[in-house]
């Protein structure tokens, strides 16, 4: 029996495959190398795999791949999402090098790579099965990763994430089943059939499907897990989770909005999503106000930032997706940069996550403080960073789509967030207190990572990828 697949099908999943294989190699190397070298061997192999996958994905860009009977589409915006996920994975893997000696490093990296596979599959997934599967692959890996640290908080975060996320996945599954019931097909493309519009199964199915997605995006009121899990999870895992989960889920949501929804019902069907996005922008930002942990702060921040990104999607225009991608890219670098700085000043464990340790950082580590400042400015949407341009693009998209109330909420939320971010900045430039742990000496990889992130954040302001239509939409 010959399989009905061509090499194009396999080529389409090549980036995913490479990452998956890299994870296996990492595990293999863990057995082969001596204990002292295990850490760097794992990191190097993982980075190599990610780089290779990134290269392959970049080669795919601009071509349309409709692989596995339409189950997996890539080459267009999915490729960009994949690249973002790969960058997130690479940035997170680097953090393992920056932090103190961690146990289970090979296992952790391997699982993280497989999670990245799940996220990449989600970004190309074009049917309900692939969406569910990608989501589960991503989530299962993250459950495990959250618990890999020996701190009690780490295990607690894993438990909470497990229970809540599984529940949300069950909602997604139930919704998918209802969608399947309404249309008789699992392909997203078949959902876009005006005939189903009248079917209540379709509506309730879409609603429950969206609950699952919105949970992954940690929008209010499905956000409750985010701060706790972000705080409890190990630093590299938080970094990965904060970017990859959101990127992959936004990819799914975008495909659902653009490909699966009949235009006539789109806005009415998605209204709850926009509402929760609006609420999230406020809740996420006010939640940041009195936080003492960087990871928790960024958790709340992420709640709001996803809200911003959804404003770009709200119009349902192809340009909106581009702006969302732009902002998401910038956001990825902001988060990775912030975590890199946090890792670079953690002498033993994760002291970099404790905001009290940032007091007077500008005196002790002026460059790291400058980098952190730039990143926080970017998160707040201030120039000269991509956060500024991203925000104005989002606003432009929201306004042109008629979602002025969302744009206004974005402004209000941003105003609140400024206070929270500026507090960290202020602490860094305030006089140092005694008794704080001395930051780590020089951690090359973390410094390089932070520097790259800062450079990208600034350069993206002045050379945005938007103008020349570099992001054709393929679905």
């Amino acid at each position: 029996m010959t399989l009905p697949f061509t090499s194009a099908d396999w080529w389409a999943v090549a980036p995913v495959s490479i990452v998956a294989i890299a994870a296996l190699v990492v595990l293999l190397a863990d057995i082969l190398f001596a204990r002292r070298e295990q850490r760097y061997a794992s990191i190097v192999i993982a980075l190599a795999g990610l780089a290779a996958a990134g290269f392959v994905a970049a080669r795919q860009f601009g071509h349309d791949y409709n692989a596995f009977f339409g189950g997996f589409l890539t080459g267009g915006f999915a490729t960009v999402f994949q690249e973002i996920i790969l960058i997130a994975a690479a940035g997170s893997v680097i953090l393992y090098a920056a932090l103190g000696p961690a146990s289970r490093i090979a296992g952790s990296i391997a699982i993280m790579l497989w999670s990245a596979c799940g996220a990449m599959l989600m970004s190309g997934a074009a049917n309900l099965i692939m969406i569910f599967l990608g989501l589960e692959l991503l989530s299962l890996g993250l459950y495990a990763l959250c618990a890999t640290d020996d701190r009690k908080a780490s295990r607690e975060s894993a438990l909470k994430y497990l229970i809540l996320s599984s529940m949300a996945t069950a909602f997604l599954l139930f919704g998918s089943a209802l969608l399947f019931g309404a249309t008789g097909s699992v392909e997203l493309a078949d959902l876009a059939n005006p005939a189903h519009v009248a079917n209540p199964l379709f509506w309730t199915g879409a609603g429950m499907f969206l609950i699952g997605l919105v949970f992954k995006l940690s929008l209010v009121p499905f956000h409750t897990w985010t701060p706790d899990v972000f705080e409890g999870a190990p630093l590299p895992v938080t970094a990965f989770m904060s970017v990859a989960t959101k990127a992959a889920t936004i990819a799914v949501l975008a495909r659902f909005i653009y490909a699966a929804l009949p235009v006539s019902v789109g806005q009415r069907l998605l209204l709850p999503v926009w509402i929760v996005a609006g609420v999230s922008m406020i809740v996420g930002n006010v939640g940041m106000l009195a936080q003492r942990d960087l990871k928790r702060l960024l958790g709340y921040s992420g709640i709001a930032q996803v809200g911003y990104i959804l404003v770009a999607l709200a119009g349902g225009t192809p340009l909106g997706l581009r702006y969302a991608l732009y902002y998401l890219t910038a956001y990825a670098f902001m988060n990775l940069g912030a975590f890199a700085v946090a890792a670079a000043i953690s002498p033993h464990g994760e002291e970099g996550a404790d905001l009290r340790n940032y007091q007077g950082l500008a005196e002790r580590r002026p460059w790291l403080a400058a980098a952190m400042t730039l990143i926080l400015l970017a998160l707040a949407g201030l120039p000269p960073t991509a956060g500024f341009l991203g925000k104005i693009l989002i606003l432009a998209s929201g306004v042109s789509a008629g979602f002025v109330w969302l744009a206004a909420l974005l402004i209000v939320g941003t105003a609140i967030s400024l206070y929270a971010y500026a507090k960290v900045v202020r602490a860094m430039y305030a006089p140092a207190e005694t008794g704080l742990p001395e930051p780590r000496p020089f951690v090359p990889l973390a410094w390089v990572s932070a520097a790259i992130c800062c450079a990208v954040i600034v350069l993206m302001t002045f050379y945005p990828l938007i103008p020349s239509n570099v992001l054709p939409l393929a679905h």
């Binding site: 618990a147 497990l162 599984s166 909602f171 599954l173 139930f174 008789g184 097909s185």
Partner: protein
């Protein structure tokens, strides 16, 4: 099909929400995990019923994959529960609340 599809949907929904109820009301993580399995199975029931309705085996395959994934999830979930609660005195999720605020 003799039985109207609406009845399957209703049945699945009832089981699903029993699972939801279980997750919230019970404090034993194992039972919470079982409740989640109930919710997944409700979804599966729906998939299989609709597959029969449409005579589309995609639904069955979906259900098959869900079963696989559920197995994996149970494995990881149980591992997490074990690592979380083995050092503790009680197996009670209400005691796990150091992260808050």
């Amino acid at each position: 099909m003799v039985v109207p599809i609406g009845d399957y949907v209703a049945l699945a929904a009832v089981i699903f929400f029993i699972g939801v109820f279980g997750v919230i009301v019970r404090r034993n993580p194992l039972i919470m995990l079982m409740s989640i399995e109930l919710m997944l199975n409700a979804g599966n029931l729906l998939l299989v019923a609709f597959a029969r309705l449409w005579l589309q085996n995609a639904g069955q395959i979906f259900a098959f994959i869900v079963i696989t994934v559920a197995a994996a999830e149970a494995a990881i979930g149980l591992a997490i529960i074990v690592t979380t609660f083995r050092p503790e005195r009680f197996v009670d999720v209400d005691d796990v609340r150091s992260l808050h605020g």
